[in-house]
Subunit: 420 residues, 2 copies
C-alpha cells in the first residue's frame, strides 16, 4: 500500500495548547512512515488548502516539532473561514479535492471547535460523494469548552487556570488595599454563549468569603438591582468585592450587554466592554472606587501558566486522531472521557462528527448556584482537575522561549489562483 | 541596651514582591533578638499605626514568614493615606509618637514609593524634633519604577516580565489569526507618568518585525495621524499590528487621554480606558478588526510570573534596611546600585531620604526611539536584566498557594480611638 500524505490545519480562535495537538498529530504521523508519507499543514488553516499554500512539516526538525508542545497560538496560522454546505460551497469543496489529489492527501486532520467540526464533517463526506479516498478526523479545540460528547475541550483548562490564577492574585491585591482604596474589582473574561470560563474564575475561592464574590454568567440575565445589592453586601461583609463577568452577559431582554455592533467572519458579534460597563454601574450606583481588567487574548495565549492536564489531553487527542486514521476511521473525533473526578481519571473515546458538528454544549444549570452569582460544588468537582498541574515552557532572557517553525511552502502543482 | 521593637508597614499600591521585602525585614529583625524585640506590622499600612491596630508578626511561624517571599499583594494590608507636613498633620505625627512610645518602637520600616518616602522622611525627623529615639528607614517599592537614586524599584521587574510575556503571547496569537481575523491588538498597561512599564512591553520583540510594533508612552503626546499611518504600515508589512499603551498617555494639549474624572486618595487621577479608546480610533479610521486588553491589577499582582531578579532585590532591600537600622542609620533608604548590564551585577547602596522624597525619576529621553514609538538599545540593555529568571510560587490544586498570615493584633495600650 502506498504511504499517502496527511493534511493538518488549525481552525478558529487559537489557544495555549492547540500546538500541543499539532505536536501529537505530527509526531504520530512521523512514527508511521510506512502508512503516512509527509504531513502538510495548511498555512492559515483551511485557507491554506484552498489557496494551495501548504507547509511541508517534514522539513521541521524533531526538536522543533517537540517544542510545539510548549508554544501558544497557531504555529501554522489559523483562520476564521467557514465552509457552507456542499451545495452552497461547491466550488470550495471541489477545490479542496483538487488540492488533495494534487498532493496525494489521504488523511485530513482538522483542529478546531464546533464550526470547524462542521467543515470536517463535510470534508469527510467528500470520499463517499466523489470516490476519492479520504479520511477526515476532527481534533477538538476550543477555549469555550462548548463541544458536545467530549468531557472537556483542549484550550479550556489553560484559560480556566489563567483566569482562576488571575482572579486569585487580583483578589489578594484588592483585599490588601480596600481599607483606603479600591473596593470593587471587575475581571471580564471570554465565553460567548456558555459560562465555563466565568465559572472557572470561581476556582480562585478556596474558603468562604474568598474572591470572586460575584460571577455574572451569560446564562443568567443581568439584574442590576440584585447585583448592586450583592455588591453592597460584599463590601459590608468583606470590605471589598471581586467580580468575574462573561463577555457574553445578557440583559433582561436577552440583548448582549457589551454589544458593539461589530461581527466576525462567522457572523458572531464581536464583544467588548462588559467589564468597564459593570464597573461604571458600580460607580454610578454605589460611588465605590473600582478598577476593571479585560483579559482578552491574554487569557487564551497564556502558555506560561497552562494546565498540565490540558497540555497532556491536547497532545493525546492529536495522537489519537492519527491512530484513528490508521485504524481506517472517517468522520470521527477523539474525545475526552472522564472516568472519575477524584482521583481524576480520563481516557480517549470516539465521537461521530455528525453528533458534534454545530452542537453547542451549554453549562448544566446545576453548575450555577441558586442565587445565580456563583458555582456549585458539582461545578467545582468538574472544573478542578482541568486546571491541575503546571507545565512551564522553557525561558530565555526572562521570557518564554516559543519555537518559530520554518514553515516552508510545498511547491504548487495546480495552475492559477483560487479566489476565496 | 534594651531590645526595642520594630514597626513595619506597607504603603501605596501593592506589588508581586512587596511581601518579599517584608520577608527580608522580618527574617532579619528575628535574626537579631539581642537588638530588636518584636516586629509589629501596621494593619493597612500607616493607618494601623495611627489607629493602634498593630499586628504581632512574632506570632507567625518561621515557615509562614518565609512563604511571604512567594505571595503577592500586601500581607498586612497597605493603604493610600498621605501624611502632610509636620505642621499640617501635627495631630497625626503626635499620634504616631504616642503609639510608638506605648509599644516601645525604636525602628520604623516603611515600604513604599515616592509619597511614602516623604512620609518616612517626616517620621525620621520626629526623633530630632521630639527627643524620642527613633530610626526611620524606607524600603523602596513601586511598579512605576520612578524612585530616584535606586537603579530600579522592587515590583517593577515583575510587572515588566508580566507585560513583556503577555505581549509576546498575545502577539503570537494575533499573528496566527491575522489573515482572516483580528489585525490590531492593544494592550493597556500601568505607569501614570513614566513609560517604564510601556517600554517593558518592548522586550517582547526579539527580532525585527516582532510585536509590539507600536508603543504609546506617556512621555510622547499622542499624534493620531502619525499613529494611524504607522498602524497602516505595520498591517501592510507584517499583516498585523500590536500596540502597548500607557494608561497615562497624553493628547497634544497635555490632557490625559483616559481621563475619567475620578481621583484617588492622593489626588491622582484614576485612569481607565485608554486601551479601548485607541482601539476605537483604529476602528473608526482604518476599519480593521481589533481587540484590546486592560491588564489592570493583573499585572502588578502576577506573582506566578515574577522576575527572580526582582524577588531577590526585594528581599535584599528589606534585609539591608534592617542592617542599616542596626548600624545606627536614620532617614535613609537602601538602593539598588547597578555595576554592569551584562553580565548583570548589582549591589546595595544607600540613599538619603531627603534626596528621594517627592522626586520622580522620568525615563531618559534616549530610551525612546527617534520616532517615539519604540525603545532603544540602551533601554533594552537597562530593562533586560530586570526580568531575568523565574521564581515560581508553590502550587496546590492547580493554583498558586499563597500564604495567609494569622495577623493577630497586639493588645492596645492607648485609651480612645484616633479619627483618621
Amino acid at each position: 500500500m502506498n504511504a499517502r500524505n496527511a493534511f493538518y490545519a488549525q481552525s478558529g480562535g487559537v489557544t495555549a495548547v492547540i500546538n500541543a495537538s499539532a505536536c501529537g498529530v505530527i509526531e504520530s504521523t512521523r512514527a508511521h512512515p510506512d502508512r503516512i508519507g509527509r504531513t502538510f499543514a495548511g498555512r492559515n488553516g483551511i485557507v491554506g488548502a484552498l489557496t494551495e499554500d501548504l507547509i511541508d512539516t517534514s522539513l521541521e526538525s524533531a526538536s522543533d516539532i517537540a517544542a510545539l508542545r510548549y508554544a501558544p497560538a497557531g504555529a501554522f496560522g489559523s483562520c476564521r473561514y467557514k465552509l457552507k454546505s456542499l451545495e452552497q460551497s461547491r466550488a470550495e469543496y471541489q477545490r479542496l479535492l483538487e488540492v488533495f489529489k494534487a498532493h496525494d492527501i489521504g488523511y485530513f486532520f482538522y483542529n478546531g471547535g464546533g464550526d470547524s467540526a462542521d467543515t470536517c464533517l463535510k470534508v469527510s463526506q467528500l470520499s463517499a460523494a466523489t470516490g476519492y479516498p479520504l479520511q477526515a478526523i476532527h481534533v477538538p479545540k476550543t477555549v469555550d469548552n462548548d463541544l458536545p460528547i467530549t468531557d472537556c475541550c483542549p484550550g479550556f483548562g489553560s484559560v480556566a487556570k489563567y483566569v482562576a490564577t488571575s482572579m486569585k492574585e487580583a483578589g489578594f491585591d484588592v483585599a490588601s488595599m480596600a481599607r483606603t482604596s479600591t473596593k470593587v474589582f471587575v475581571l471580564e473574561v471570554m465565553g460567548r454563549h456558555a459560562g465555563w470560563i466565568t465559572a472557572s474564575c470561581g476556582l480562585a475561592a478556596e474558603q468562604a468569603g474568598d474572591p470572586p464574590h460575584i460571577l455574572l454568567f451569560p446564562e443568567v440575565p443581568f439584574d442590576e438591582d440584585k447585583f448592586i445589592a450583592r455588591v453592597r453586601q460584599c463590601v459590608a461583609d468583606y470590605g471589598y468585592c471581586c467580580i468575574g463577568v462573561s463577555e457574553g452577559l445578557l440583559d433582561k431582554d436577552g440583548k448582549l450587554m457589551g454589544e458593539s455592533g461589530a461581527r466576525d467572519a462567522f457572523g458572531h458579534t464581536q464583544l467588548s466592554g462588559v467589564g468597564p460597563m459593570i464597573a461604571g454601574i458600580v460607580t454610578d450606583r454605589l460611588k465605590l472606587k473600582n478598577h476593571w481588567a479585560v483579559a482578552s487574548y491574554l487569557q487564551r495565549a497564556a502558555r506560561h501558566i497552562a494546565s498540565r492536564t490540558d497540555v497532556e489531553q491536547a497532545y493525546a487527542l492529536g495522537k489519537a486522531a492519527v491512530e484513528m486514521a490508521l485504524d481506517g476511521k472517517n468522520s470521527v473525533m477523539p474525545a475526552i472521557v472522564r472516568k472519575s473526578d477524584s482521583p481524576y481519571v480520563w481516557e480517549i473515546g470516539i465521537a461521530e462528527l455528525k453528533d458534534v458538528a454545530n452542537v453547542e454544549k451549554k453549562m448544566p444549570k446545576e453548575f450555577i448556584s441558586a442565587d445565580g452569582f456563583g458555582i456549585t460544588d458539582a461545578c467545582r468537582a468538574y472544573l478542578a482537575p482541568l486546571i491541575a498541574g503546571e507545565d512551564y515552557p522553557p525561558f530565555r532572557n526572562g521570557l518564554p522561549n516559543y519555537v518559530r517553525l520554518k514553515n516552508i511552502a510545498v511547491a504548487r502543482k495546480l495552475p492559477g489562483d483560487f479566489k476565496l
